[in-house]
């Protein structure tokens, strides 16, 4: 329905109760339920991490985030808040990663394939530009443009309001466009 917001409170009960059921089961030690949550939320965690840490480190960190989440799951009181809670765990894990390795370089994310040099460089530049956006835009755009999630999915996974996601997508895209255009302008001879 156009204009209707999808907050954790207003999301379809099937989604909330479905995920909440998985969370409750996983909290009780059900490994199968947790694997299902992993499959559902891995992309969200991947996108949030990619917005903060070098690409090479992201896949391992995704696994670490889920292992940490599984250990801490009994401390999550509201099972329906799992998505937002997991996103916070991922952001904290990214911060810890930087405290440990103190490395950041956009160039590390340039994976050059022979004969496709300009596309790789352009992708790395776009990634760097997204990483330079404010946090709310950065996460939402990363989930949309990199992970291929729809606005609806982003709202459902992160627990953000439908309207917030929409605003973040559009304002973030506007900012990204400006920055990429600015970069191209500076790059021209």
């Amino acid at each position: 329905m156009p204009g209707k917001e999808s907050t954790p409170e207003t999301q379809p009960e099937a989604i909330r109760s479905g995920n909440a059921g998985l969370v409750v089961a996983a909290r009780g030690g059900d490994r199968g339920a947790f694997d299902e949550l992993y499959r559902k939320y891995a992309r969200m965690v991947h996108g949030i991490l990619l917005a903060r840490v070098p690409f090479d480190a992201v896949e391992d960190l995704v696994q670490e985030v889920f292992l940490q989440a599984f250990r801490q799951l009994p401390r999550l009181r509201d099972a329906a808040a799992f998505g937002g809670w997991l996103a916070a765990v991922a952001r904290n894990r990214a911060r810890d990663h930087f405290r440990r390795v103190r490395e950041t370089s956009e160039l590390t994310d340039v994976h050059v394939a022979p004969g496709n040099l300009s596309a790789e460089v352009e992708a790395a530049a776009a990634l760097a530009a997204i990483r330079g956006l404010p946090e709310a835009y950065r996460d939402t755009l990363m989930l949309r443009l990199v992970e291929g999630m729809s606005g609806q999915e982003i709202a459902e996974r992160t627990g953000l309001a439908h309207a917030s996601v929409r605003v973040n997508l559009h304002r973030g895209m506007k900012l990204l466009r400006e920055r990429l255009e600015g970069r191209n302008t500076h790059a021209e001879p």
Binding site: L67, L127, L145, V146, S150, G151
Partner: protein, 348 residues
């Protein structure tokens, strides 16, 4: 008609593509998480005690506990640093023109080991010994600093009168006189003496111990002891005792009387005594003997019944434990404790 969202490619990829967004998707897709994601490695669930250890409440409690231990550890050191006077006591003029080592004190000055503070008939001074004690030196007095170091603050009142209030631990604040030495047991007191050692100690709070040669006398609040030159220490007595009682006690303590006269004086003392004055009897038991001791015990037992286990025979025998237990019946209390009697250090 489709909803605006269905036409918004940025919101939903099933809408007509926005070329710019689609190109970015195509460029950035190389960073996408591979599907299906790598399986999670084997892991075990956390044990209950691990969850408790990781909990924020536990970490905060552990931090608070560690902080409390640290504070407890450094508190005595901090209190000493703040409360102790260092190598000098602070003197200030209250009236007239006191002198330190013969020089005018002025408004205030330091009094160090060996230093002499003098007041004439018109002057008064106050000496502060850190937060441990405060001594008012009254007119016509000479007060010398004998020793000042942590755990020992010793002065000599060579002549005159002082009024002291202390928070020092028992037996760390000491005043020598030409006669006995006064040991503070956490208290407030006034002490006066002349060059021969005659004078008086009055205790207004807590306890003071007077020592002369091998004799020791503990004096509680409300009581006093007369001092006489030549090594005589008067029996402590409550100041609110009758004049007859106090006069008889002074004659027994300091006058040379024949046996008959002494017996008459003792009879006068016993007749004038109240239950509270048995405190003086108990002190006299330490120096009396024979018939005198028997009369003190019998009159004392009339006035102040003993607690169970204390017998007349034991008291006549001079049993220290029984005398002590009998004294407890007077309810004189314990030596002063600074955390209860801290107000005594405040200006009056």
């Amino acid at each position: 008609m489709q909803s605006p969202e269905k036409q918004d490619y940025l919101w939903d990829a099933s809408a007509p593509p926005d070329p710019e967004v689609a190109r970015l998707e195509q460029l950035l897709g190389r960073y996408r998480l591979s599907e299906p994601p790598r399986p999670l490695p084997a892991f075990r669930t956390a044990r209950r005690w691990e969850l408790i250890l990781w909990s924020r409440a536990f970490r905060m409690a552990a931090f608070a506990g560690a902080l409390a231990l640290l504070l407890l550890w450094i508190a005595p050191w901090t209190i000493r640093r703040v409360a102790e006077p260092g190598d000098a006591w602070r003197a200030r003029t209250l009236a007239g023109a006191p002198r330190i080592n013969g020089q005018p004190l002025g408004a205030a000055g330091d009094l160090r080991t060996g230093g002499l503070l003098e007041t004439d008939r018109a002057s008064q001074a106050e000496v502060r010994i850190g937060l441990m004690g405060r001594v008012t030196v009254l007119p016509d007095s000479r007060l010398r600093v004998v020793e000042t170091r942590p755990g020992r603050y010793r002065m000599a009142l060579e002549r005159g009168k002082i009024s002291a209030r202390t928070l020092a631990p028992p037996f760390t604040f000491v005043v020598d006189t030409p006669g006995p030495t006064a040991y503070d047991v956490g208290c407030a007191f006034t002490l006066e003496t002349d060059e021969s050692g005659s004078g008086r100690l009055r205790v207004t709070s807590g306890w003071v111990q007077l020592e002369l040669d091998d004799r020791q006398v503990l004096i509680p609040a409300g009581a006093a002891s007369l001092l006489r030159g030549g090594g005589n220490l008067g029996t402590p007595h409550f100041e609110d005792a009758s004049e007859v009682f106090r006069g008889a006690l002074a004659r027994l303590d300091f006058e040379q009387q024949d046996a008959a006269a002494r017996a008459g004086t003792l009879a006068e003392l016993l007749a004038a005594a109240r239950p509270r004055d048995v405190f003086s009897f108990q002190e006299m038991l330490r120096t009396s003997s024979g018939d005198e001791r028997r009369r003190l015990v019998d009159r004392g037992l009339e006035l102040l019944p003993p607690p169970p286990g204390v017998t007349r025979a034991g008291l006549l025998h001079g049993d220290d434990a029984m005398i002590f237990a009998w004294r407890q019946q007077l309810g004189l209390g314990e030596p002063k404790r600074w955390w209860i009697d801290w107000r005594d250090i405040l200006p009056q």
